[in-house]
């Protein structure tokens, strides 16, 4: 694909060289300037690796024609002497919306909109590949000026609206020409994002996983459409197909989404260029593995204003750390050889760009890497290598002229040339008048000292020891100096004026005295200006706080390792027929339970004295919503196509807190916004690992269904989405299952068919390849779903919540479904009026596999207590009660051969309790997943102290920053919503 681009680029270049003018001209005769401009004596940064000292280069008709130590100067040349100056290729920003008019926001409505608003396009308004940057573009000279000042010559611009956003264009920031001259490539890239279009209110998708599913489906549909299978015209899909060989740029704004974008790309063989978040350093291994090029915003968090201690308490450790760490992001990317370019899209290019760039360099980014990120990397990324971003024969004449090393704070950017057109930012032919002078005016002698940049000199005047008020201006080589009278009782001024066309040791001009008389003055140079103290230049040392896994409070600096452990002399709750074994040893090796018995030989394993303690299998939570960036896709009444695995959030502190409550495996379920929800993610709580590495690999696929008030949207949301009654809920299922059967037979027939991710999932369900966990409350609906499933010849695997399960336990047993319920929740809505805490006990008594689940990040950390409630309500035996949070949920998830009990050969997911695990007084001391202690109460104690210390240090650093006049931001507290099934649903 890239090769094709290169060829196209070269071809265009050739065309340009031999271009014939064809535009009529009515304001004069047709002229054409084919003269050369030759620059000599410059330090030329050909590219980040190549520098020509005292070099020359020539440009003609917007292109560079020659570069070298010494080049042939054609007769028709004007020559510019750049003695002492440096030339860099001008910068490129691949992620802007430069010159793009703001998309019009759709008007609000009282009800959500479920169908697409555009006709002749895709079924979802947020898929807009047909959007064309050119059609929405007009050159913004104000913004261009800012970009010129920051050193930019070319930007890629696009309409930043929608999920698939259409094509962007590569445009040169050339002043005073037409758009036709500026556009380098009118179809330079296709853009994507996780954000919906503001131009449409269409509900779907309401979630990140919905967005990912939609992108996947759009790709599949485009392929199918390309085969000529559709009856209708779909301009969006046509455009998507046309755009498929462009560079694909995916905009994200957080680290997890960066990795998610890459995941979708991988599935379709597309390598996205990813617009990042500046937090890539927090998970560098995965970032590197993505093989993507990153467009990183040159933006760093500001320090927080922590003067008020009460406000400071509301600041998360994560936010504080990011302030300290983020400036080192680019250095770390560079060191790890992750290709990246920079973007100004979230900053003020004029004011913040250079300062932030210098900050990154201060934090260790090399100048070469910085220059590459602004020139060659973006050029390569957009398929314009050798055409932009270099000073090389055949490239566009896009370059900047500076007073010295660009990456030096004091350096002045004189000129920014784009396509051979010059923008003067500072006069570079300014005479250097700095120095110490003996100034003689009207017979009086002053000591004049001029310092600073030649273009912005500052004066200090003394007469003997008395300081004289003065004001110096120096423009177009004319010096104007205003001197106040040494007699402070008078407000009188002497005005001096002199033309200084070139460096001289003697400036002479005219002086106008307070009384109006004119006289001559001279200033004889005594010495050069004193060099500024080099103190400032000294490299500042920055201590960057080490990244932890995850990079939040209680993250690990060093990920804990798998250990071989012998638990000695514990009370072992096997959750098997063996029951509870007193004074028993359990040996763990290589992440597995290898032996259970008395007086076992440790054989090199670490021995943990568990005398008086209880060892159990790790708790399995069948119904959890922790560790997720999103819960509900509410845009459709079925969202079978969405995957919770797409939205796992490994940084959620609830993972750690759950471990502290003895939980080791969870089913991360979709919410209950719709009858057919999304696909589950079954996770191992491996705190510190990436989202991907937390997936419980061997667990079979699951999906969430839901019934009752939530899916009817009884307590919130719209009143226009089908279904609004339980009668309708049945119809949704019957309809989808019937359609899935038809879909399957079409698929099997060998005829062309449109691959439909939703139908694929439902076919899996019908074929028993994907298990259903259904959110359910009242007996009628429970019964209904079993009957519908039976009619389609499959089984419901689990009813979750199932608060009236006790009323139909016999029917459930007959159907062969398990139950995962709350211990004692009720009374929060109408359908839980008959929920009773005896539910679990009755269902267990009837012979169902019963689990107690949490559905809540608070309850999940004390599921042992919830299980114990069935001892109280219904008189269940303790062993049976304990099974409800271990082996029973493992059975419901079909992972009981791996976890859920203490049995030889099983994964070593274990909890060591200080007390009887069903007692309110019990707390986990150690929690192990596959032989790794992810929670240890002693280590937790140490971490608390470290966190306190770290917060203190960071607060100290921020106070210091504020004291040094660095801009701070106010503390705001970001709230993470606590989610469970009954408090869900994003308002549309």
């Amino acid at each position: 694909m890239k090769l094709k681009f290169l060829i196209l680029g070269v071809f265009l270049g050739v065309l340009n060289l031999h271009a014939q003018e064809y535009f009529p001209k009515n304001d004069g005769v047709k002229t054409r300037n084919t003269n050369y401009t030759v620059f000599k004596n410059a330090k030329i940064h050909v590219d980040p690796q190549t520098i020509i000292n005292n070099g020359m280069f020539a440009i003609k008709e917007g292109k560079i024609t020659a570069v070298g130590k010494s080049i042939n100067i054609p007769a028709n040349s004007t020559v510019v002497d750049l003695q002492g100056k440096e030339v860099y290729p001008s910068f490129i920003d691949l992620y802007t919306s430069f010159g793009i008019s703001k998309p019009k926001r759709a008007e609000n409505g009282s009800q959500p909109q479920y169908d697409a608003g555009r006709e002749g396009y895709y079924w979802n308004d947020h898929i807009r590949p047909d959007t064309d940057a050119v059609a929405n573009f007009s050159f913004d000279s104000k913004e261009a000026e800012k970009l010129h000042k920051a050193g930019f010559g070319v930007v890629n611009t696009h309409v930043p609206d929608g999920i698939i956003r259409g094509t962007g264009m590569l445009v040169a920031l050339t002043p005073g020409v037409t758009e036709g001259d500026r556009i380098i490539d009118e179809r330079s890239a296709q853009y994507l994002s996780f954000d919906k279009s503001v131009q449409s209110r269409q509900s779907y998708p309401t979630s990140i996983m919905g967005t990912m599913a939609l992108i996947r489906q759009a790709y599949l549909d485009a392929k199918w459409y390309a085969g000529g299978n559709a009856d209708n015209k779909d301009l969006a899909l046509e455009a998507l197909n046309e755009n498929s060989d462009l560079v694909q740029i995916f905009a994200t704004d957080n680290l997890l989404n960066e990795l998610r974008a890459d995941k979708v790309g991988d599935e379709f063989g597309i390598q996205y260029v990813i617009v990042g978040s500046g937090k890539e350093y927090q998970r560098l291994d995965k970032i590197k593995e993505s093989n993507a090029t990153f467009i990183v915003p040159l933006k760093f968090p500001e320090a927080y204003d922590v003067e008020n201690p009460y406000l400071a308490n509301q600041l998360s450790l994560e936010e504080m750390r990011e302030w300290n760490q983020a400036p080192a992001n680019l250095k770390m990317l560079s060191e790890n050889k992750v290709p990246f370019t920079l973007t100004t899209h979230s900053i003020d290019a004029e004011k913040e760009f250079k300062a932030n760039l210098l900050k990154a360099i201060e934090y260790g980014l090399s100048k070469e890497a910085a220059l590459a990120a602004l020139t060659t990397v973006p050029a390569r990324t957009i398929g314009k290598e050798g055409k932009i971003g270099v000073i090389k024969e055949g490239a566009w004449a896009n370059f900047i002229i500076t007073s010295g090393d660009y990456f030096d704070k004091e350096t002045t950017l004189y000129e920014n040339w784009v396509q051979g057109y010059r923008t003067i930012l500072e006069n570079m032919d300014v005479t250097n008048i700095t120095g110490k002078y003996d100034l003689k005016v009207d017979g009086k002698s002053y000591e004049l000292s001029i310092t600073g940049e030649p273009s912005k000199p500052k004066a200090e005047v003394k007469m003997g020891d008395t300081k004289i008020g003065s004001k110096l201006s120096f423009q177009d080589n004319w010096m104007n100096l205003l001197l106040s009278s040494p007699d402070t009782t008078k407000t009188e001024f002497v005005r001096l004026s002199a033309n200084v066309p070139e460096s001289t040791d003697k400036i002479s001009g005219k002086a106008i005295m307070p009384n109006g008389t004119e006289t001559a003055f001279t200033a004889s140079k005594q010495s050069d200006a004193e060099k500024k103290d080099d103190k400032e230049k000294k490299e500042k040392m920055h201590t960057v706080i080490p990244v932890t896994y995850p990079n939040v409070a209680y993250g690990f600096t060093q990920k804990p390792k798998q250990e071989n452990v012998l638990f000695r002399n514990a009370t072992v709750w096997t959750s098997e027929d063996e029951g509870v074994l007193e004074n028993t040893d359990v040996l763990v090796k290589n992440g597995e339970i290898v032996r259970i018995g008395k007086d076992l030989n440790a054989g090199g394993a670490r021995v943990i004295d568990a005398t008086g303690k209880h060892l159990t299998a790790g708790i399995v939570d069948e119904h959890s919503h922790i560790a997720a960036s999103d819960i509900n896709e509410a845009g459709h009444n079925s969202s079978a196509e969405v995957q919770m695995e797409d939205v796992v959030d490994p940084t959620d502190i609830n993972i750690y807190r759950n471990l502290a409550g003895g939980v080791t495996s969870i089913q991360l379920l979709h919410g209950s916004a719709n009858p057919i929800g999304g696909q589950s993610a079954i996770l191992k709580l491996k705190w510190g690992e990436s989202a991907e590495d937390m997936i419980f690999e061997q667990a079979p696929p699951f999906i969430k269904f839901a019934l009752g008030e939530n899916v009817k949207q009884s307590n919130w949301g719209s009143t226009i989405r089908f279904p609004q009654t339980r009668m309708g809920v049945e119809q949704v299922f019957t309809d989808y299952f019937s359609r899935a059967r038809a879909y399957e037979s079409q698929k099997k027939s060998g005829e062309d068919f449109r691959k439909d991710l939703e139908m694929e999932t439902i076919v899996e369900i019908l074929n028993g390849e994907r298990f259903v966990t259904s959110h359910s409350y009242i007996q009628s609906e429970i019964n209904m779903l079993m009957k519908v499933a039976e009619a389609f010849d499959f089984n419901i695997n689990t009813f979750t919540h199932i608060l009236e399960g006790y009323k139909v336990a016999d029917k459930m047993k007959e159907h062969g479904v398990g139950a995962s319920t709350f211990s004692d929740w009720w009374a929060y809505k109408y359908e839980v009026n008959d929920a009773i805490p005896y539910n679990a006990a009755i269902m267990n008594e009837v012979g169902l596999t019963v689990a107690i689940n949490s559905d809540d990040s608070e309850m999940s950390r004390r599921l042992n207590q919830e299980a114990a409630k069935s001892v109280k309500y219904g008189g269940m035996s303790e062993e049976e009660a304990w099974k409800m949070v271990t082996i029973n949920p493992a059975k419901l998830l079909h992972v009981d051969d791996l976890v859920g009990s203490i049995k030889t050969g099983k994964q070593a997911d274990l909890v060591l309790w200080n007390e009887h695990p069903l007692s309110v007084y019990a707390k986990p001391e150690k929690t192990m997943v596959e032989g790794v202690f992810y929670f240890d109460i002693e280590r937790d104690g140490k971490m608390r102290n470290e966190i306190k210390k770290e917060r203190n240090e960071l607060i100290g650093q921020m106070l210091k920053a504020k004291n040094n006049g660095i801009k701070t931001q106010p503390v705001t507290k970001k709230e993470k919503q606590r989610v469970h099934c009954d408090l869900l649903e994003k308002v549309q």
Partner: protein
């Protein structure tokens, strides 16, 4: 697997037969009751291993060590060896009886329109026949403070007992306290209006406090004057200034608590209570000095900030008590009404994370009684106090062993049945019968 317990209970239920949805309130105590041999947890920190407890006409007449007495048993004798006796648990800051089903608007009576409503009284809306209220009793929660919600001044609460025909029957302490929702130093933008939903310093904080001060000052002025017109809110403040009505301030932040203490001082308020107190630890000294107790929010909650100790809510009550603050536990929050029956386990969790068990018990008995100002009658098992108590098979702070056999409110032997036990019974019976039928069928084959 069937436990013997289960069989016994089902048998008991079958014998006792069906009853109506709402349990009939118990009649006045007609004869003395003697409880023998139980471990008595007095609620004041003391334990009597082998106790003798006698009560008559609703009052405790004897609470003593059975091993060292030859006291005559009186009336009904309950042999309770191996069992445990506790004073009835008290649930402060509750909306029990004000809301039945949280998602069904017609059943909600907790939040009236208006900012400052001292005249709004929870008592008259309290539904003594609430199915949720009756579900408290099987867990030992026998009393509660019923509190209106919302606004700056939510209204006036009352303390009730949980076995009554109507609210007049239920009342233990009428109009016991005024409830103030202290303004937050932080506020959150209304995201649905496109405002930043993050918590930010509240610009109106000072203004809100001023509003409160103005109201108190105006009310004082009104009450000192001729009162020639009726002003319901000002009149409702009279007992606040006389000290009869306590002032409960619902507040979590450290700064806000300090400001509230200043308000107490400025307004010369007695009987001042902090409710919630998430960050009260930082101002424990000042609370102690000012003699201000804290009703900490239920320990079964998650820490607000990720950097906080995972067990912070579990141990907050202990940390405050260690610093000399009088502490009780309240259970407001998500699903607060139905969750109030878990009050004993909240205390149990505090004990799990470091507090002595008898001290933890005080968090839901005598401490709370003191905070509500009903400790002359309730909150502990002491001679002369109300016979509001229950007997549990085991440790009542542990769900594993909290199994009530008897409960008494003011000496009245109350039902431990509920809508829920009835459903339990009905469906257990259904399946029992199915089993029997099946057995019969098999036998006849």
């Amino acid at each position: 697997m069937k436990s013997v317990y289960n069989y016994i209970l089902i048998a008991f239920l079958i014998i006792s037969g069906n009853s109506s949805a709402q349990q009939t309130p118990a009649p006045e105590q007609s004869e003395a009751v003697t409880i023998v041999g139980a471990t008595a947890h007095l609620g004041n920190g003391e334990v009597i291993e082998n106790s003798l407890i006698i009560f008559e006409n609703g009052k405790l007449t004897q609470v003593m060590d059975a091993t060292s007495t030859k006291m005559q048993y009186r009336g009904e004798i309950i042999q309770a060896e191996g069992k445990h006796v506790y004073p009835g648990f008290i649930a402060p800051n509750s909306t029990l009886g004000l809301v039945e089903i949280a998602a069904v608007r017609p059943t909600i009576d907790q939040d009236e329109i208006g900012e400052i409503l001292p005249n709004v009284r929870s008592l008259i809306a309290y539904n003594a026949e609430s199915k949720i209220v009756e579900s408290m009793r099987p867990n030992g929660v026998l009393l509660g403070q019923i509190v209106p919600r919302g606004g700056l001044v939510s209204g006036t609460s009352s303390v009730v007992q949980f076995d009554a025909w109507n609210w007049e029957d239920a009342v233990v302490k009428e109009d016991d306290a005024l409830h103030i929702n202290w303004p937050d130093a932080f506020s959150r933008g209304r995201w649905w209006r496109g405002e930043d939903p993050n918590l930010k310093p509240n610009k109106e904080y000072t203004e809100e406090i001023q509003k409160l001060e103005d109201f108190f000052n105006e009310a004082k002025a009104y009450l000192a004057g001729a009162q020639d017109y009726t002003h319901l809110p000002y009149q409702a403040m009279e007992t606040v200034f006389t000290g009869e009505k306590r002032v409960f301030v619902h507040v979590d932040g450290e700064k806000e608590i300090l400001d509230a203490l200043q308000f107490k001082k400025d307004q010369k308020l007695d009987g001042f209570v902090i409710v919630g107190g998430y960050n009260a630890l930082g101002v424990a000294e000042q609370l102690k000095e000012n003699n201000v107790p804290v009703l900490v929010n239920r320990p079964h909650s998650t820490p607000e900030m990720a950097y906080e100790d995972y067990d912070y809510p579990y141990k907050l009550a202990k940390l405050l008590q260690d610093r000399g603050v009088l502490v009780g536990i309240e259970s407001s929050g998500q699903m607060e009404r139905m969750n109030t029956r878990n009050l004993p386990f909240y205390a149990g969790t505090v004990a799990a994370f470091g507090m002595d068990k008898e001290n933890a018990l005080q968090l839901i008995t005598l401490n709370t009684a003191k905070i509500l100002g009903i400790d002359d009658t309730y909150g502990s098992l002491e001679k002369g106090k109300s016979a509001t108590l229950f007997i549990s098979e085991g440790d009542a702070l542990d769900m594993r062993t909290n199994r009530l056999t008897h409960a008494f409110i003011d000496g009245r032997k109350i039902s431990l049945e509920s809508h829920q036990t009835e459903l339990w019974k009905r469906y257990s019976e259904k399946y029992e019968n199915q089993e029997t039928e099946k057995q019969k069928e098999e036998d006849s084959k």
